[in-house]
Amino acid sequence: MVEKHSMLSGFKVREAMRRQVLSLPDSKSVGKAISLLIKYKISALLLTDGDGRPSGVVSKTDIMNAYYADFPLDQELRSIAAASPITCTEQDPLEAALEVMRQNRIYRLYVYDQAHTRIVGLLAYPDIVGLLYRLCRSCKRNYLIQKGVREEAEVIRRFTVKEVMTPNVQSNRANDTLYTLMEALSQYRFGAVLIKDHSDNPVGVVSKTDLILAYKHGISPERPAHEIMSSKVHGCEASAYLAEAIQQMIFSDIHRLFVYQDRPENIVGVLSFTDAARVRSGSCRACLTTRIKIEDQGI
């Protein structure tokens, strides 16, 4: 929920959007889309019709659903795409765009030019978080800066992982089928499930990316989770500083960490990169209202 007069007031969509928009003709295959999503490390592609006009969006979730529905890999993308892309224009206020995201429960908007003739950008939720972060660090009212806190370490010692993580981790068993995992993920805010063995010990992680790769590799959705899971569970301690967790995610090039208490087997929460970055932005008393929240967003 964005409050009035937040730090984002006055900003236009074009100041936070990214200009590289990957698209594919909607006559291309699901297999082709998977290759592009993996190669560019992105979560969705814009689809275009025969005339090059935007006709839909296909996300990792849509592809996972196609896998679940046993569609062949050469299925045309237009048959699995979500409805037409939700858009805004580059002149729109950023706050209005955020509100559209919130209402539609999505976290990416395709951006039209002012004349509404072509797509010129993509506004993704993490990009807004990035902008907020920059603003916060250069803000004159940032009370830490006002107080003359020069030592950067002082700033980052304000939050621990426990304060920011989401408790209640979705977990599945190592011998659950991929079908079961996909059912769980389609209901879940995060892009991955934790895999546990019979004694409740975490043994791996299966993400949407792992699932669409399994699809691409022709693995039957009836196979068990342990055949495709990453056996490393990237974890961090609940009492760790947020900065340490962010650093770990950057170095491992991952989106999320599983948070444990006392011992690594005792997983108590999950921390996404975007959640971590968001809390570090607009988090001082000068502008608490800026801290943006979009409910039920899986980033």
Partner: protein, 160 residues
Amino acid sequence: MEPIAKNIMVSRFHTISHSATVAEAVRAFKEAGGPGEKRRVFGMMVVDEQGNLIGMLSMYDILLLLRPKHIHIWADMSDIDISGIIDTVCERARSVKVEDIMTTELITVSPDTHLFAILDIMLRKHVRRLPVIDNGKIVGIVYISDLFYFLYDKLAGDGL
């Protein structure tokens, strides 16, 4: 000399196996472009066990692999210590298999393809090298720089 692929291509070409790692591929780039060679190499044809062309690996494919997911956010986080990130990223990339990152949408030309047809493909598809295939076999590779070099004297007006 006729302006067609076989007169522009390099027939002493290099290939890399699909099962090679990124580290092996980059070592192959370095050797192929080493001392005594006339160009530095930033891409190679990828072949299967029978020597058939199955993909292309370019510098761009490797750079895409290296690009961190959240760089657009954390590039601004000057309070996060990222010293050593280059080593970590490169180390992780070294063991990735060529077949997992190569481009499999192949564009090839035949030995008789006209220079301007090759030029058109290179400009439209943003590629700088095209394999030349004759009867299903690799016979050479055309580089955009060699294509330009082929026109060098004519463009400069020398020898008129």
